[in-house]
Amino acid sequence: MKIAVLVKQVPGSDSPLPINSNQSWLDENGISYVMNECDNYALEEALQIKEENDDGEVVVISLGPDRVQKVIREGLAKGADRAIHIQMNSDSIADPLSLATLFADAIRDEKFDLIFSGLQSDDLGMGQTGIIIGEMLGMSTASLAMATELSEGIIKVKRELEAGFFQWVSMSLPASITIQSGLNIPRYPSLKGIMGAKKKEINIVTPGGHDVKQSAKKVYVPQSDKQTVMIEGSVDQIVDKLVEAFRNEIKVI
């Protein structure tokens, strides 16, 4: 069983988000980065499958500038066997299709049985990359996985639907599955894992270039302002004015 886990490095939820001077993207120096939350669950799911079957290989794959090697190391320390780093400058923000192309090109020859990725990234939240890669590589795909069960050539996936409903789907391997947070209990890298990670291989891939179909015009913090209007009068007048405001000004009823 060969499992790829796609991990993304994203700004931590309490990190400040300073914008760079030409307003093209964030100023990365002021940001503290972490592994995308659901990618961490995807990694754990892959490691558990490997441990249960007592054989196989888990490969961590990340795309981005050199700083992403931090999350790659974290994945290796937790127990992944090796890693692929697709190098790309962070100022070329790309759309899911071009990112998926880069991933697909880099891993096509690896012939993975499974690709796990987080359901979506905590920064851009496109939620498509894992599925597009699966389609490009001719794999079965499923999103929003809450549980997985593996048996001879088949993977059963419990998918989260709306309103507390679930759907079980059976798919043939190979498959690319995007994982929802909370389906397992992620581990913390042990000391032995951290030491061992240093000896593991990180294969660095530098793609020739990619087709950018989408780019940000201007990045800025939304203006927020607060307006307080005092409504005075008798209760009936206040109610009338409120309803009027709800209907015509704020347009919520």
Binding site: G12, D14, P16, S32, P189, K192
Partner: protein, 620 residues
Amino acid sequence: MTQIEFTVIEKIILSLGILITFASFIYEVWRRLRIVFKGKQSFPLDRFGARLWRVFKEVFLHEKVIRGRFWPGFMHALVFWGFIVFGLVTVDHFALGFGHELMNAQTHKLYSYIVIPFSIFVLIGIGSLTYRRFISRPKTLGKISPTSGFVALFISILMITYLLGETGLSPIVWRVNWWIHSLIILAFLFLIPRSKHLHLVLAPINIFFKPFDLPDHTPVNIDLEGSEDELDAMLADLTEMTKNQALDVFSCVECGRCIDVCPANRGGGLLDPKNHFILDLRQPLLDKGNVDVLSEINVEAGWECTTCQACTEVCPVGNQVEKSDEIRRLEVLVEGKVPQEYQKLFMNLQESGNTEGRTDSPLAERLPTYSPDKEYVLWLGCFARYELDPNFTKSVENFANILDVAGITYGVLENEHCSGDPANRLGDKLTYNMLREHNMEQLAHASKVVTLCPHCALNLGKEYAKYSEVNYDVTHHTQVIGQLIEEGRIEVKKGSNGKVTYHDPCNLSRMLDEVDAPRTAINATTDEFFELEESGRNTLCCGAGGGLWWKKETTGRTHLVRAEQVVNSEADTVVTGCNFCYGMMNQGLKPLTPEGRSEIQVKDVADIVSENLVSNSDTK
């Protein structure tokens, strides 16, 4: 007193009896001590005089035995003192068996004037203890123990036979009586090492060797550049107990006082320090014949501990009870099993050097920056720096105001990272070492550090010193304030805060041994100070220690027990000296205060002093 010649046969039986029971006694004690001596580190012998003094107070005067539980403790003291008095008689007793009594009839007679009342005291004592063990049966004593019954019976028979021996018995009855007495002593000797009654031998030794430092956790040095063998050896070392810890396990008298004071247990948690941290290790030690048993500690219980050290403080036989550090570091460093909220905490610490994953601190920007011409580094700590309770920033500014008025110069470090307390207490020694090394660099040129956080004070001082030499002095702000008041460098008037009480933070009172300075400061501001029932070194933890501030779900009410006591105390103002206690009180008091009662004010020592400061400029 009757005078009797024993027959040769009697002498042989007596000799054999003594020989066998003594041999077995020594063997059993030796078996345990051999395991103890396999422990890591050596027994501390520093401050020899202080150790002897401690033995005198805690063993001979029974200070802790009595303070912890007055009546049972006093009854026990009667038994204990009785035994000391009896020691001499006993030697004489056996000497008599061989026809060489040590005391002549005259001395014996005189001594019996002391011994007879004591034998009655012992009877009263043991009778009350037995009543407690078998009839009133408080929960913390645990299951009924048959050995307690035997021991009580033995001691009573010894006393009764002694008293009979002192009356004018006929020679034959006296002889029978003498034999009963002797056999019971031998049976007692047989039972002691096999039960909790070994405490009567080990408690004095254990109290003598007990480390002075709290908490007595060993440093964990991690060399990420080292070889795999070195790493394996280091990890194996983490499962091994120290000599002190192993001796504790055999000294425990199973009294359960540690359970009574445990905030996690009182809050309805699972943690039971007597069993989880002490008795659960007794059988594994004996079975393995070695000390690598720390992984036997219940993991869930280990995560519940607030590391408040109340258990260690109360233990009458000198045990360092708490072992959450021992099991947590195994879970983190070896198993990689860490609750999710703590993984996030550790990641924040690694990424941003603080618990919250933040980079900016408005408070730090408002305060002056440290430069070497200033007297103090004002160490903020993450709680104040990143406003874990936004109200606390005011307390920091109040302390800064006090320093300003006293004309003391200070500044904050621009690159202060978390002191590492949460990582240290939660077992992530790798992250702890990273933070420690960073901070040691930042403090390289500092000579005096003052902080409002006792957790930081403990780590920057005592804990860092376990790893490398620390060249600066760390003081807690209450100590600085207390001193300024005593030296008359600031003037404080009595304010109006109603009835004022003080909640001793565990880290300040027990670990930094400071209970006076905050009281000096508070008493300067009020005439209506009163003590909570559990105060000073016997304080009750607010529930936030040991990294529990960051714990999302708590099974019990550990975080409310102390706040509830404050509400029930009728205080109008509760003062504390720790940012975490301050935050816990602020969260806990409001929902617990009954309707109609006015809100209880929560203040730091710095607040109450600053508010009542007479800032007349002519004092400086």
